[in-house]
């Protein structure tokens, strides 16, 4: 891979290429004008041209996809940046965008799992886990992190014995189901899941004190579980321990600075405290974070309702019904009960 400068021939009057002697005198090399013109052309052999053509064609064919892939790369990077700042709502949106283009990317799916668990977005968790399938990744830390996030969902997976009880819960009145859960939890004192289900049911039955004491056990053994913390915050809110409720919601926000569940939960606490201006700010923040999230719509609707803006509140209720996922029916019913006066929230 050298460049060599050729020296002039011995005969000073001859063109060193063609042997003629009509070379101009002012040039450093003894080459006639015709030869000079010919040699300064870009003479490329056919095989080099064919090689270049092949490479250019292949590059162009691949380059057609560049805008789409470039956008995927940019969104992936933005997702990573958002995750680094604990902004998981943004991260989830970015990784979802990438998943549409690269559904088989294990790294993206793992990051989507992590983000969707942080956002408690069960629908997306399911999709991302299915996409990830049984693929392996070189990034062991990432897969480990995704798996540890998924382990938080264990509180929703009843073990043997408890599963049949949970599956058949709609066959019995709530109080019977609750008593059965209590009996099961007493028989299986180490079963954290049973205690979580029991605490959740007691919360539904407005037995907040009992629910609190049962859930304390879960908090003690799995202090970092976001789903347990969320239930704890709700119990504190309904028990009128507002500062404690805010404390737990802030714990959720430490974990995910864009947790719509936590921000809208804080809005509900402030509504309870009659701090309607702060509640409005928080509800708007939740809405801006994720305007399609049923919890953000619910919080904003409640703020509107208590500001006597019934029409806007009803509009948001309709949106939850129209745009929401099937699992949003709980939120819809809860809000509907408040807006129709069946439930007295404050």
């Amino acid at each position: 891979m050298d460049t060599h400068s050729a020296e002039p021939p011995k005969n000073p009057n001859a063109c060193m290429v063609c042997g003629k002697s009509d070379h101009p005198e002012d040039l450093t090399k003894r080459i006639c004008n015709d030869c000079r013109t010919n040699l300064t052309r870009l003479n490329i052999p056919k095989w080099v041209k064919a090689f270049a053509l092949g490479v250019v064609a292949l590059t162009l064919v691949d380059a057609v996809r560049v805008p789409r892939f470039l956008l995927a790369g940019i969104h992936y990077q933005r997702g990573e940046n958002a995750q680094d700042q604990n902004h998981y709502a943004t991260a989830e949106k970015e990784f979802k965008y990438v998943a549409d283009i690269f559904p088989g990317s294990i790294e993206n799916n793992a990051k989507l799992v992590i983000s969707s668990v942080h956002n408690m977005d069960f629908g997306e968790i399911d999709v991302a886990v299915k996409n990830a399938g049984r693929q392996t990744s070189d990034e062991e830390g990432l897969v480990e992190e995704a798996n540890s996030c998924l382990e938080m969902l264990d509180v929703y997976i009843p073990g043997k014995g408890l599963d049949s009880l949970v599956l058949n819960r709609f066959k019995y009145p709530d109080t019977v189901y609750c008593d059965s859960l209590n009996a099961f939890a007493l028989r299986n004192p180490g079963d954290n899941v049973a205690k979580y289900f029991l605490a959740d049911k007691l919360f539904d039955l407005e037995e907040y004190k009992k629910s609190d004491s049962v859930l304390q056990y879960c908090v003690k053994y799995t202090p970092k579980n976001i789903f347990i913390i969320q239930l704890m915050a709700a119990i504190k809110r309904e028990s009128k321990q507002y500062d404690s409720a805010i404390y737990f919601y802030n714990e959720m926000l430490d974990w995910n600075a864009e947790s719509v569940a936590a921000i809208s939960g804080k809005a509900r606490v402030e509504l309870k405290r009659h701090n309607d201006a702060i509640a409005l700010q928080l509800a708007q923040q939740a809405y801006l974070t994720d305007s399609s999230n049923a919890l953000s719509l619910e919080a904003l609707a409640m703020v509107y309702y208590y500001s006597n803006k019934q029409a806007q509140a009803n509009g948001l209720l309709t949106r939850i019904k129209q745009d929401g996922n099937p699992e949003d029916s709980v939120v819809y019913n809860r809000l509907d009960n408040i807006l129709t006066g069946k439930t007295i929230f404050r």
Binding site: M1, L58, I74
Partner: protein, 176 residues
């Protein structure tokens, strides 16, 4: 660090050598310097060469010698870029992506001017340049020699990977 004979590396990365020699030829064309012979690739030492007239200007001689650094880097990047995102970032490449990354890396890793190029620059400046010009060009020649020494520890390969994989990554980071 493992050793692979130079001729095997040359054969494996011949696209880079072809582009390298083409870059010398291209710069000769730009400066209207007559080219007597071009060997784009051969199994031997050097693996390719361009035989051209001594340029009138010192800087033209310099540019002809270091031209491949620019051409191979840019061409290597452009070829690898469409493939690097699906293949490297998302591990979702198809065979064409593998081929383009191979081409990109092999072209970019031959961006460094060779020792022969360094000698050519130095000889030219020794003959036609004054002391000041020789002092100016000495660091460039030194860097080329350093690059040649570095190739024993795969510096050229690392550079190829950096251009084909690292630059697209950096590009995305800047855009995000």
């Amino acid at each position: 660090m493992f050793f692979i004979p130079g001729f095997i590396i040359s054969i494996l990365t011949c696209p880079g050598i072809i582009v390298h020699e083409f870059a010398h030829q291209l710069f000769c064309r730009l400066f209207k310097v007559p080219v007597f012979k071009v060997c784009y690739f051969r199994v031997g030492n050097p693996a390719g060469y361009v035989l051209h007239e001594t340029p009138k200007q010192n800087w033209q001689s310099l540019m002809i010698s270091i031209g491949p650094f620019f051409v191979n880097t840019i061409v290597g990047f452009l070829i690898a870029f469409p493939a690097s995102i699906p293949l490297v970032k998302f591990n979702q490449g198809d065979p064409a992506d593998y081929l383009l990354i191979y081409l990109g890396v092999s072209i970019a890793m031959h961006a460094f001017p060779s020792v022969g190029d360094a000698k050519s620059i130095w000889n030219h400046f020794e003959k036609h340049g004054n002391l000041f010009k020789r002092i100016l060009v000495a660091p460039i020649v030194g860097l080329i020699y350093l690059g040649a020494i570095g190739s024993f520890v795969w510096l050229d390969f690392a550079y190829g990977i950096g251009v084909a994989v690292g630059l697209p990554e950096l590009f995305i980071k800047l855009l995000a």
